[in-house]
Symmetry: D2
Amino acid sequence: MVAVTVWNEFRHEREDDDVAAVYPDGIHEAIAGALDADHDVRTATLDEPEHGLTEGVLESTDVLLWWGHEAHDAVADAVVDRVHDRVLEGMGLIVLHSGHYAKLFKRLMGTSCSLQYREDGGTERLWVVDPGHPIADGLDEYIELPETEMYGEPFDVPEPDRLVFTSWFEGGEVFRSGCCYRRGNGRIFYFRPGHETYPIYENEAIRRVLRNAVAWASPTDGSPRTFGARE
Amino acid sequence: MVAVTVWNEFRHEREDDDVAAVYPDGIHEAIAGALDADHDVRTATLDEPEHGLTEGVLESTDVLLWWGHEAHDAVADAVVDRVHDRVLEGMGLIVLHSGHYAKLFKRLMGTSCSLQYREDGGTERLWVVDPGHPIADGLDEYIELPETEMYGEPFDVPEPDRLVFTSWFEGGEVFRSGCCYRRGNGRIFYFRPGHETYPIYENEAIRRVLRNAVAWASPTDGSPRTFGARE
Amino acid sequence: MVAVTVWNEFRHEREDDDVAAVYPDGIHEAIAGALDADHDVRTATLDEPEHGLTEGVLESTDVLLWWGHEAHDAVADAVVDRVHDRVLEGMGLIVLHSGHYAKLFKRLMGTSCSLQYREDGGTERLWVVDPGHPIADGLDEYIELPETEMYGEPFDVPEPDRLVFTSWFEGGEVFRSGCCYRRGNGRIFYFRPGHETYPIYENEAIRRVLRNAVAWASPTDGSPRTFGARE
Amino acid sequence: MVAVTVWNEFRHEREDDDVAAVYPDGIHEAIAGALDADHDVRTATLDEPEHGLTEGVLESTDVLLWWGHEAHDAVADAVVDRVHDRVLEGMGLIVLHSGHYAKLFKRLMGTSCSLQYREDGGTERLWVVDPGHPIADGLDEYIELPETEMYGEPFDVPEPDRLVFTSWFEGGEVFRSGCCYRRGNGRIFYFRPGHETYPIYENEAIRRVLRNAVAWASPTDGSPRTFGARE
């Protein structure tokens, strides 16, 4: 049983009726609903004490999902430090959509994580460019999303360890939409789809990717990581 | 002065009037014309003795460009062996378009190098996804080709060391169009654009990429590669 | 239940009393013995018809282990083709020690796979350089082998996708001893230890690595790999 | 003419007679002396205003070398921000020895950059594991340093884009001693050798590596990096 914590900024949904109409219980609940009976799922949000990410919660989390957008700066540095440390220890991390600009993700990548975007509601196709990857299990050749915000290259991240998805956008752009990284013992997956006003996380194929990514990002035992003076 | 050999199958141009109309002197001459005064350029073609790739020619070649399509099987294994060895020794190799199925490229990659395609004359945009790469020097954000054959993912090659271009196609596909590899001491660049019935190699941006790729693929000195029994 | 086939050249053991003393039932049986009750294990050897690697055997194999040394050239090209195809389809492959020069491994790598060596019976330490990797599960910081043949750099293989072990040798050399690759859908692990006159495959930590590597290399479902003309 | 800035903490040399005996003018001057007439070399040190790394200095620097050890925390965050931005824009960065724990390097890597060490004055051999890399130009198979501080694995950094050197230590350890990365447009090389009490930077082979690394890390033009809203 993989222990999953779904973190959401949870502001748009309380501030904006259009967003509330799409995600009445918050984006975190939609994501939590995508994880099936094989997961032990909790949620945490920005306005909880310590953003809901106490030491205890992190200690008992195998994989953390992260959705944020308008309030990246409101995340306390001390909490970012703590989550960062846990990722290096081995906790999996799945960063979604506008989370590319989260303090946590920028710190793990070491780059600006900038990109181009256009909120035009055009069609997106996420092509599987690595059909042998476990995150692609059970998918078709591509996932089609009829209405999305466009994200375009260049995407200022380190070259991914493996690239699983590349998006095609109706308006003429491409984007590396599914990027795998390891930092310390932690597995990190950046997954582009998701927006507060399109019901992306209700799409069955996207939900399948979330489950696959959680499985992929779950910690393994590994061997000791001892640092410092050696005799 | 970089010594470049442009190799071309040179059959379509002699067999098909439509191709001859686009490339009257052969694709090799169009490519050779793209390389400026800084290169010492030769050409070689399939129907020459030893396909024009004698030991002497290879010994004195810094970078080899390769275009083939309908006659991959007519390339003698002994010549493939010889070129393969030279790449491992350090000769640069630029494989163009349908050269993805060349014996030489498949041998260097170790995979099937299969892909999807559609000859529909649609528009292609080659997005630079690695703007810091020297092969992108002097380019805009993307290169647009008004009429091309589509190549689509999945592309069965090893994960590139660096991915420089990703193509967007009007018909809805994407493709990793500029892939960098090293094998032994040799630098290898696979570059998708090019077709016998579209004048791709007359495009100024494409010609710039060819020059950049030759510079990137040129051998460096390195250190000794000695193998076998050590005392 | 992972279906494993252990392939061994099985010539040294029948030709040389010193080898027979170390591996009386053949190296393949020692390796098979390292795989525990969670595996469905078969063995196959060079001198069986089709080297024991019929279409049926390969179809029903999840992970193939390969040990060869003096008779690489005796492996039929048609069998190499068949195994190569199965790896690209997704069968895992673990190449051991002198298998670096197997036709199959050279074909998958696209390089010479040459290295340096010295048969001096010195001590080797395999350091885990990627402690978060599942192939390192349950190991200490390093595995020490009191008597081994030395393999030294340079090792002419493509840069590994991930490097799990680096060996230190008493005589002054280093070697990338645990190299992960993907080719097509297949996962490939090259693991250096092993020799016909040292009882390497009786070492408990080495046996643990073999089990870990089999688990890591097992196929996942992935998504369709369809190639060719697209409508 | 490549514009190089050599940055040094420059405290050990002023506080400790043993260090001053090895590097009487400071480590920065020894490094600067290794860069030949093809470079336009400046130095900068911690105790200068803005640590000598003003906007003007960084703007006109192609490649920055960094040596620090006991005073990493004394480097102002604002200067780290500025240097970080310049690296992403394309300035090359060469991080030396104990600089692995510099704020700047940890920020670029996104990991702890921890390692093991032992100050025992034992012998180190830096093996070239990538003999085709330009940083290895003109070297022998390995560089031997008779007396060094040991650094051992695990080294908590992201998997390098390319690994050029692996060190062997007399005491039984190994280390990935020459690691290449790209972050944004900037090329980064971590190079292990160097210590305040051993005259490492007087070694001719080490000096050759420094020159090679400066050439490798020099910026190229690339193509535009434009981010934000697209029309």
